[in-house]
């Protein structure tokens, strides 16, 4: 119910929303959880395994129970914590993991089976038969135990990724964080102040204690606003710092637009930040922990700090008649605050004997425990047991429980830091220097009082500023509550019967931990995995320490001896959409488009990926219905007239320096220093293990100036390799390397009429320009480079112009080609032409082939990279699979790439394998399928007929081993 007065809500701004189809209303400033509580809704979800009815436990991001689907259609987000979701007009929420309804859930039958479903049940039961796991057990279990449903539709909202830099990152804008940020801001440091809430103040938002005579939330808001005015401070509300990483890098999730129905125009829903901080202060506060007692999971049982947060911050009565059960003084405040708001507090139950809780309109019960509860869909009564062992039932609809507070030290564990047990405060505290450059302050360090937290924040900021070289200012610490916490540990209420929950989200009880212990899963890590405790989406924020306490009780030891707990990123769940922001669709990988791309689109040319490049596959003509028709026509066109192909994507590296020739002699297997200026040579690069890395051409433009080409896919790798050679292996050589792939647009002009085409295009007559010549030319006044090289076996050129002229050049070349009976050709025809000539691509240079395998062994010279290790036994000889040509025996038979080779008639089994097919095409010249492949001792097997085996695809065939190339073996057309 909503209280008459109070709360940080705007009563002038009512908001309508729906939960499971019913209309409710709340106010601006509400969370979904507070608005539901105000509307009298206590049953908010079903547990993961037993489908137990559950209500809200917490008031923050540690919530294990109140997970919902929020939004509709493609905007439906599962597993949204109602305690974090800010209310907006028209919000639609649905409970999850229940059928047919939240109140009548068929799945709750599994709760009746609970005696059989204890820890390790799945491991023990669904073992046999193995084949059943995938087909029967897993689908069954998944249907029964689940969280929310994904919409299955494309997310209509964008997410974003962003980077930020600062001197000091302050994580949390509570008392400690605000003081730390103020110190750093006044010192002139660049500060980022991040808080997961929509308002600053942290715990102050939920309390009635004053700071410097003003309400704590007002003090926080005023300070936050003042900080936000400073140019060196970046406040980041609604931003959860989710992970601490190496080198002062932090991940943070900003919920930019989840507090509204849809993001404003052009704004993302979420932004995932990478924050590079020179120093950081973790001031994330503390999380309250529950106490395990039988049936402590009913709706209406909540954390004491949450109960008073609902009353103080949201003016919501968590129930009509409340009992408080605590083992520490802080719980007393809940009784005081609720009562002050006019809520009936029936009893203040303190597990400690001999303490004197404050008097009030409640029954005081010290030395007393809660031993059981009643109420099917919501709490109706709790059973207490006093020090004399007397039981009695108390009619209440809400039980506020406090087992003490755990410092929110999660980020200090992200780089293997192990928290330390502090017996003075009965809590884990962060190990010092657990994350380099990260200090911890305030309640996250175990400084639980407000003033203690402020002093701690100020002290840590001073230390950080000194380390950064800033002069720390002198700022007075405000007056604030400063009572030390007093607590007597209570993990589970002793001597009780019935299931007592530790991990609410994964349904792990004290009995499960005891079972794990009995079955010898006694290390904390084993217990966690056996019971799944702490492995739900909340990572056991409210469960882990309690479970350690129970283990300590079972083992009769101290928690410090049992082990420690750890946490991994992210602190709270992160949408995959945020982590992968911008990386779907076109953003998945860079799209590199050649200069002729626009022309290809106009001609309806489909593209094919080559590395990151999208190259035209073929240029269909009217009436062509199949890619093969276009491809065959283009291949014939090149052989008969002339074709133009955009080859810009080939890697181009400019190599200059007095030692450029000596350098290339070392990186190429063959010699380049003997190349004359104005000439081009084929080059083969090996790796130092003796295998082939890449091939290409090397053109010498001047005595100290070369341009080398690489294959499209290996361009980046070869560039990095050459830089490695120049900088790491031979820094004494005078050589400089620049990738000029993007600087030059390059087109191949191939075919018997290519000379006609090129000659007419240049500003000066071509003159004698023999095979493998290169030189500078001019096209309409634009300086260009011409290479007489061929990847088709035809008389051919490659013409390069500065990239900005690429589109114009390609169109001009195509126009001229068409007047000569030619036209453009794409990747498919290019592939046919090179296979017919036995030329190589990365289908053949796949990293496991040697120069000898390719028939290029004689090219390799001493002193070059890879020369030494290729001499190893086993890397040459008749047992190696060697490059061969294969020709389908039957003219109609199809060959498949990747198919295996066996001797004709041999058993088609792995042991008989003789090699494999790497490249195939239908050859218009030979009028049948041809292929390149690797065959054991292949060079000695010319003429042999082999069976082509492809168990993956249909089409058994036979092929004959033939010498390479298939076409024009003398190369007459090339040199013509």
């Amino acid at each position: 119910m909503r209280l008459e007065t109070g709360g940080l809500i705007d009563r002038a701004a009512p908001l309508g929303f729906r939960f499971d189809g019913r209309e409710y209303s709340g106010f601006q400033g509400d969370t979904l959880a507070s608005a539901l509580l105000a509307g009298g809704v206590r049953l908010m979800g079903r547990s993961f395994k037993y489908h137990r009815p559950r209500g809200v436990l917490s008031a923050g991001s540690d919530e294990p129970n109140a997970l919902m689907e929020v939004g509709t259609g493609a905007r439906r987000r599962p597993n949204t914590r109602a305690t974090v979701q800010e209310l907006y007009e028209g919000l639609e929420a649905r409970s999850q993991n229940r059928w047919p309804s939240l109140a009548w859930d068929a799945g709750q039958v599994s709760d009746l089976l609970a005696p059989f479903l204890g820890a390790g049940f799945y491991y023990k039961t669904f073992m046999w038969p193995a084949a059943f796991w995938e087909r029967v057990y897993e689908p069954l279990i998944r249907r029964a135990a689940g969280l929310g449903r994904l919409s299955g539709k494309r997310d209509p909202d964008a997410c974003d990724k962003a980077f930020a830099h600062c001197d000091l990152l302050v994580i949390g804008a509570g008392p400690a964080g605000l003081m730390a940020a103020l110190m750093a801001a006044e010192a002139g440091a660049r500060v980022i102040l991040a808080d997961e809430d929509c308002r600053p103040g942290g715990r102050l938002l939920a309390e009635r204690e004053q700071v410097d005579g003003a309400p704590g939330h007002a003090w926080a808001a005023e300070l936050w606003d003042a900080l936000a005015q400073m140019p060196n401070v970046t406040p980041m509300p609604r931003t959860t710092v989710t992970g601490a990483y190496d080198g002062g890098t932090f991940g943070a999730l900003e919920r930019v637009a989840e507090h509204m129905a849809r993001p404003p125009e052009a704004a993302p829903r979420l932004t995932f930040w990478r924050i590079a901080a020179r120093r950081a202060i973790l001031a994330a506060g503390a999380l309250e922990r529950p106490v395990a007692f039988p049936h402590n999971d009913r709706p209406g049982v909540m954390l004491a700090g949450a109960a008073r947060a609902y009353a103080n911050r949201w003016a919501v009565a968590p129930g009509r008649r409340v009992a408080v059960f605590t083992n520490n003084d802080d719980g007393w405040r809940t009784a005081r605050d609720l009562s002050a708001q006019g809520i009936e507090v029936a009893a203040l139950i303190d597990s400690r004997a001999g303490v004197t809780p404050p008097e009030g309109p409640w029954q005081l019960m010290t030395g007393t425990h809660v031993t059981d509860t009643r109420g099917r869909l919501g709490l109706r009564a709790v059973q207490t047991r006093d020090g004399g062992g007397r039981h009695r039932w108390l009619e209440v609809d809400t039980l506020a429980v406090s087992g003490g507070w755990n410092p929110a030290l999660h980020l200090t564990c992200h780089m293997n830091g192990r928290p330390r047990w502090n017996p003075a405060i009965h809590a884990f505290v962060p190990a010092s220097d657990a994350v380099p450059g990260l200090d911890v302050a305030g309640a996250a360090l175990g400084q639980f009082s407000t003033r203690g937290a402020m002093k701690s924040g100020q002290y840590r900021a001073r230390k950080a500023l000194e380390a950064l070289g800033f002069e720390p200012p002198s700022i007075p610490v405000p007056n604030a509550e400063d009572t030390p916490p007093r607590l007597s540990p209570l993990w589970q209420v002793p001597r009780t019967r019935g299931r007592a929950w530790l991990d609410f989200q994964n349904d792990v009880t004290v009995k499960d931990v005891a079972l794990a212990h009995a079955e010898n899963f006694r290390s904390v890590e084993h217990m966690k995995r056996y019971t799944t405790l702490g492995m739900a989406t909340d990572q056991g924020k409210s469960a882990n320490v309690g479970a350690l306490g129970v283990m300590a009780d079972l083992a009769g030891r101290e928690i410090a001896q049992i082990g420690t707990t750890t946490f991994r990123p992210p602190y709270t769940p992160i949408d995959i959409a945020a982590l992968g922001a911008g990386a779907d669709g076109r953003g998945f990988a860079p799209h590199r488009l050649p200069p002729s791309h626009a022309y290809g689109l106009e001609r309806g040319a489909p593209t094919v990926e080559a590395g990151l490049w999208h190259r035209a596959a073929y240029y269909p003509r009217e009436g062509e219905t199949h890619w093969r028709e276009s491809c065959d026509r283009e291949a014939r066109m090149v052989r008969q007239a002339v074709g133009v192909c955009d080859v810009t994507s080939l890697g181009k590296i400019d190599v200059q320096g007095t030692d450029a020739a000596a350098f290339l002699d070392r990186v190429y297997a063959n010699t380049m220093s003997t190349l004359k200026p104005g000439r081009v040579r084929y080059g083969l690069m090996l790796r130092d293990d003796g295998f082939v890395m890449d091939d290409g051409t090397c053109a010498r433009l001047g005595p100290e100036h070369f341009v080398v080409t690489t294959t499209t896919a290996a361009a980046g790798q070869v560039m990095a390799h050459l830089e490695f050679c120049a900088q790491c292996l031979w820094p004494q050589l005078d050589v400089a390397l620049v990738s000029v792939t993007e600087a030059w647009a390059q087109c191949a002009i191939a075919g018997p009429k290519s000379r006609d085409l090129v000659d007419g295009l240049l500003d000066a007559p071509l003159g004698a320009f023999p095979f493998m010549a290169c030189g500078e030319v001019s096209v309409r006044g634009v300086g260009a480079r011409l290479f007489r090289i061929s990847f088709s076996g035809e008389h051919a050129y490659e013409l390069a112009v500065p990239a900005r002229y690429g589109d114009a050049l390609f169109r001009r070349l195509v126009d001229r080609a068409e007047t000569l009976g030619g036209g453009p050709y794409g990747m498919e025809a290019l592939n046919v032409l090179r296979i017919e000539k036995g030329l190589l691509t990365h289908a053949e240079l796949h990293g496991r082939t040697t120069a000898d395998d390719l028939g290029l062994g004689r090219m390799v010279k001493p002193g070059s990279i890879g020369h030494r290790m290729r001499e190893r036994a086993g890397l040459s000889g008749r047992w190696r699979e060697q490059l061969v040509g294969l020709e389908a025996v039957e003219p109609g038979a199809r060959l498949n790439g990747g198919a295996r080779l066996v001797a004709a008639g041999a058993a088609q089994v792995r042991q008989m394998d003789q090699g494999y097919v790497t490249s195939v095409c239908w050859s218009p010249q030979l009028d049948r399928y041809i292929a390149l492949g690797f065959l054991r001792d292949g060079r000695n097997r010319t003429g042999e007929v082999l069976d082509i085996v492809d168990h993956m695809r249909s089409g058994a065939a036979q092929a004959q081993v033939v010498p390479l190339p298939f076409f024009d073996p003398e190369g007459g057309r090339l040199r013509a």
């Binding site: 890098t249 590079a276 380099p436 293990d689 030494r868």
Partner: protein, 86 residues
């Protein structure tokens, strides 16, 4: 993780690509015995602690860097240009 390139300054590790042990710079002589070549090409120490390694500022200035990094915690102990030698 962040690396301070001597030429470009403090940068996110995603600008760099990792090659491996810095022993890759100590290439044996062409006529060195196979054992030396085998060690150079195939064998690497796998220390839990400081490790000298080569990083390439591939999305930056293209410099190869000699980085000493503690493999236990990714702490970077030193960085210099690889071409400056030991």
């Amino acid at each position: 993780m962040r690396l301070t390139c001597p030429l470009c300054g403090d940068r996110d590790s995603r600008e760099f690509s990792y090659l491996g042990s810095a022993t890759l710079s100590d290439r044996p002589a062409d006529d060195a015995p196979f054992d030396a070549w085998h060690e150079y090409v195939h064998l690497r120490d796998n220390p839990a602690g400081p490790n000298a390694e080569l990083w390439h500022h591939v999305s930056g200035c293209s410099a190869w860097l000699h980085v000493v990094r503690d493999t236990r915690n990714h702490q970077v102990l030193s960085i210099r240009l690889a071409e400056e030698g030991a």
